[in-house]
Symmetry: C2
Subunit: 115 residues, 2 copies
DNA sequence: CGTTCATATGAACATATGTTCATGGGTAAG
DNA sequence: CTTACCCATGAACATATGTTCATATGAACG
């Protein structure tokens, strides 16, 4: 991979990756996204948000966590664009960012259930 | 880590969990799986394996890693059933475990490309 | 046999990470 | 203005984690 391409075109099962640098950059972001998903608290938060949008207090109370812990984790989830939020008065309502996140969860669950 | 109990095959993704304990156990395993996926080296290994099965040396050379590092990571990937392997002589050929892993990768890539 | 190659594994080390605690900002009501 | 509430954030701490190094196992081969 790193050397000696020999001009052979590999059959890429994954979409349009221009060059190797872009490819590595995507892999980096991909690993980063999975890293963020790889925490039980964040998974529980996201799973709760698949039901409906919620504010920090709702999540903290429903998941038996401190407001601070939830807020910290939501910031991480925000930075990875895994959740979005809107402010309304003194509340901040969070929700799942897009349907890819839901799909990743669905596939992930099917994986762990077949282990 | 909860071991697999075969025999119960379900389909409705988010509604299939009977009680709260099972639900939390699934979320735990799910987070664990994502945690394993959340490392750049392991992502690069898995991405290489989407092309074809490979042995440790191939991966180490292709990804510019030590044999030891690759072997360590492959063990982690094995434990999470993300890769499978077969032995042939003194070689151990690794490959992606199942289609869910590929799907997770595809969805993940689409997610990071839309950021 | 001994040697070499491919892989696995344990120990050690440096780094990364999640939670708690304390604090601050901002909003709505009293 | 004062209070109460919701949320965000920095510091500190304990724990977890990936890599390297050394070593072990096992297979092919001279």
């Amino acid at each position: 991979m790193s050397s000696g391409d020999k001009g052979s075109r590999k059959k890429d099962t994954f979409k349009e990756v221009r060059n190797r640098e872009d490819f590595e950059a995507v892999l980096y972001d991909l690993a980063e996204t999975f890293r963020v998903l790889g925490d039980q608290t964040r998974v529980r938060i996201l799973m709760a948000l698949t039901q409906s949008e919620m504010c920090v207090r709702d999540l903290a109370e429903g998941l038996d966590l401190t407001d601070s812990a939830v807020s910290h984790q939501l910031r991480i989830l925000r930075n990875s664009r895994l959740v979005k939020f809107r402010k309304e008065g003194k509340n901040a309502f969070y929700s799942i960012s897009d349907e890819h996140v839901t799909s990743i969860f669905r596939e992930g669950i099917e994986h762990v259930e077949n282990m």
